[in-house]
Subunit: 497 residues, 2 copies
């Protein structure tokens, strides 16, 4: 069965065992892998971990599309062989080591890494390690359920290892649209004018001469966990839908702007709510990751096109996807992340972006990446690409975290990823504030009143009023107290007074 | 002479006095003016100030392109008749009132306001008040030395007042390139593929029926002050040129990427240095404002094209410009700010952006807008548009301010406009740090060592080392002490220990 997937004879000669292929990866190797939520290699990583367990001392630098599963980031982090990692990750074990300073992590805007790698800004591209569903008759790669930075990695790598997926059937061929832009200064527009435009090839160009091994993969990857949206995400989702419906009815927002939904429960909940909403019928999603709810929307005939760089499917969704693949393929496109997150396209199409914050402050500054100022959660991912270039940008968060012990609305966020200039609308389960015509002081009043949890409103009002009278300014702050919520939590594990 | 400039007879009938025209502006009027460093109206504002001085009570909301001169922002602020102002300003009197909460100021990314106004997101477009150099045979507007948001304001306004400039000769006709994009979701790419591409008309479309008055202007506007770059800006400029030269020689940066230079002495200094540098010969500037040095570069045959939304000329430069206008016109383009700052074009062309910070922190977060956390300086302007979408983004600042009493490198900036993710390279007169391959901890070590002023390095090292050991994390911070430099300055007027 595996051999059938390799439709280009010369690559049959390169079939090898994982340990053979992995022998090309040594201390100091810059390893450029496929993988963006899905579609990451599994066999070679296992082999690398085995070598480490056997006492070999080496470190590699891993460049991916975005996060991968425990079988890659978790395994290699625990094996102690990751020197550097970029541009985004979501694994607990790896996170811990990054925060301990044991793994060097660089947090890039996802849309930018491919171009930097092609320019040579990230060092030598020693090895690409990519998962494939099939090899075409001409020796090119059909990727699995993500694209990420793979096309540029394969274009630039000195050596290439291919892991043939044993899990995902090659029937998905045709879902990908692989377009690698020229590099500046001489390049033409990216010719995507509608979400559904296909502008590239259904495969990744490959130079078979650089392939040093083709490995068969018997492992399956960790599925995303899908839970029915709870009351908080649902309430946030309803507020967004009501707001957008209202703006469209008032004539201030055209119908038909594509949506983007970030990672996390709330973004999923918003998409789920569309399924039961009659107002939103002909939808486009110009996004980064495509969750389970996309399949519902396609089945109900509401989704014109869902474009992204990867899927984040649960086990059930993956099975359902492959069962009716011909149907879903007509409404889904997987693109390189340089294209899915491209400022040019996001601005042109007028995307409405919804991303999740860890905390927001009374003036609308947003923290998506660091808890209590210092500790990395996952990374900025594509949230910057979308928030800053969209036609309308939403930032959502439950009003509290850790069972209410943490207020997600604070006097000043302890880290800023998205400034007030790039965030239009803030939403919690308590309310929605459109800051587009508000000064910082007006935004503060609205955010405290509408978004903050009632438990924390008094303390926020107190801070704000004293900041205005004692310090003044366009965005009044009492710098000595700006982090009082955070330091209180650090001291007694609770932000309540 | 004035009447010659109006080549469309029906508008001759609308010639009127400033006080007549101004009578259309009332309490609550949303006033959309031309003006972006240059090219703002002067007569009607004078008249409005006169009415206020005579005891009339009214407030207007002013939307401009960006900053204007004292004869507009300063005058109207002092007259107490400005309710709201956006998207950027630079006037001392107005700044003071904004910081006192007496004028509501909204700080927008410059590239975004036109689209928002067209969509109706900023309220009714009651009145456009625009300066013109001439009216064409078909009744369209030739603007003066800025374009800003004027085309969209004129497109949407219920009523229009035109101030015919008595200062700038209409020989500049042909320098402008007016292209107003379609609105999302259905629009095609903006067809600019090289800095020098012209894609629009040399005039602003006007519906003469909406013109309620044409006023002759006898006033001239405040010229920009030009001073020879001092040692600090020069040193910063040299570091940037050396770095770029080195990257080009190493093959990591293609030759021919266009430059952008922000406002302030340092950006000017960089452009000045090009004139005497043999390496940089065929230059393009895809920028927002065009300073004096552009004329030198054109005269020396080094500038292929300087594209911006406005000029910031000194008196001498303005005279020189008009003396040899036919020559300069061939190498200069003035565009709407929605185009000069457009993410699509900035990303496509691969602009190298240089903008000025008030302060940077050890992890590379940047503050461009608020001193000591609270007090607005000017606004974010176009710095976000460029820093976040450029191929290479520089942030520059002298290492100290206020004669050394303020360190421009601090443990944590007191306001964030540009996050570490969007800023590649930090430069002070002491050194340059390329953060593109550095983790936050590595960036901190390099920035303290190379960018901070020697006077402040010990205190920064102390903070950083204790943050690492006492708190840890990916970006270690001691939140109680993060603003200790600022609070020290607030207490004793000096950041030194
Ligand atoms: C911000 C982000 C982490 C939220 O994701 P989520 O799944 O909704 O997160 P949760 O609410 O489960 O919170 C994650 C953890 O942070 C904690 N947390 C949440 N808010 C917190 C806060 N203000 N302070 C401290 N901890 C907080 C939660 O308690 C939880 O801790 P746990 O793992 O110990 O249970 C996630 O959206 C993200 O990584 N965003 C950045 C990248 C991005 O937006 N990509 C999309 C672009 S297309
Ligand atoms: C940041 C910015 C204000 C610097 O401009 P500049 O002319 O070089 O500024 P200066 O160095 O003269 O500083 C301006 C004032 O701020 C003060 N200042 C500078 N750094 C400071 C700091 N870290 N803390 C407090 N005050 C500071 C200066 O002392 C000076 O005060 P003064 O007016 O009382 O003399 C200016 O570039 C700006 O407005 N940038 C944002 C918009 C932008 O980048 N637009 C370009 C996009 S194309």
């Amino acid at each position: 069965m595996f051999r059938d997937r390799i439709r280009y004879a010369p690559l049959l000669d390169k079939i090898t065992e994982a340990h053979e292929a992995a022998s090309h990866i040594k201390d100091g190797t810059n390893l450029f892998i496929s993988g963006f939520a899905a579609g990451y290699p599994k066999e070679v990583p296992k082999e690398l971990a085995r070598r480490a367990a056997n006492g070999e001392e080496f470190k590699i630098n891993i460049f991916a599309g975005a996060s991968t599963g425990e079988e890659l980031d978790g395994l290699l982090a625990k094996a102690g062989i990751v020197g550097m990692r970029r541009p985004y990750m979501g694994d607990r074990a790896m996170r811990k080591m990054i925060n301990e300073g044991k793994i060097r992590f660089k947090d890039d805007h996802l849309s930018q890494l491919s171009q930097m790698v092609r320019a040579g800004d990230c060092g030598t591209v020693d090895m690409a390690l990519v998962e494939a569903a099939a090899i075409t008759e001409d020796g090119n790669i059909i990727p699995t359920l993500s694209v990420g930075n793979t096309p540029s990695y394969v274009q630039k790598a000195d050596k290439i290892i291919i892991e043939m997926s044993g899990e995902d059937p090659p029937t998905m061929e045709g879902i990908h649209d692989i377009y690698v832009p020229e590099d500046p200064p001489y390049r033409m527009p990216i010719p995507i004018y509608r979400t559904s435009d296909r502008v590239g090839k259904p495969f990744i160009d490959l130079d078979p001469n650089r392939v040093v091994g083709v490995v068969f993969s018997k492992s399956s990857e960790s599925y995303h966990h899908f839970s029915e949206p709870g009351e908080v995400p649902k309430s946030i989702a309803h507020r967004i839908l009501d707001f957008v419906r209202h703006e469209i009815k008032k004539g201030r927002l055209p119908k038909g702007l594509p949506w983007q939904g970030g990672v996390g429960d709330v973004a999923n909940a918003v998409l789920s709510q569309f399924a039961d909403d009659d107002f939103f019928d002909e939808m486009d999603l110009y996004s980064e990751v495509l969750p389970d709810s996309v399949l519902d929307l396609i089945d109900r005939g509401k989704m014109r096109c869902a474009s992204g760089s990867a899927v984040t499917f649960s086990k059930q969704a993956r099975e359902r996807f492959f069962e009716r693949i011909d149907n879903y393929k007509r409404h889904m496109i997987l693109r390189p992340v340089e294209i899915s997150n491209n400022p040019e396209i996001i601005r042109r199409l007028g995307v409405m972006a919804i991303n999740t914050a860890l905390e927001v402050d009374i003036y609308g500054q947003v923290n998506s990446t660091h808890t209590l100022g210092s500790h990395l959660m996952n990374g900025i991912g594509g949230s910057g690409d979308f928030e800053r270039n969209s036609a309308l940008s939403f930032m959502v968060t439950p009003s509290t975290a850790k069972n209410g012990l943490i207020s997600a609305v604070v006097p000043m966020v302890s880290h800023v990823d998205h400034s007030e200039h790039s965030v239009d609308i803030i939403v919690t389960e308590n309310g929605l504030v459109d800051t587009r015509n508000l000064t910082p002081r007006q935004a503060a009043e609205a955010i405290i009143k509408n978004c903050a949890h009632p438990d924390y409103q008094d303390a926020l009002w107190d801070y704000f009023h004293r900041a205005v009278t004692e310090r003044g300014g366009h965005e009044p702050h009492i710098l000595e107290e700006a982090f009082s919520f955070h330091t209180r939590f650090l001291e007694k594990g609770d932000m309540h007074l």
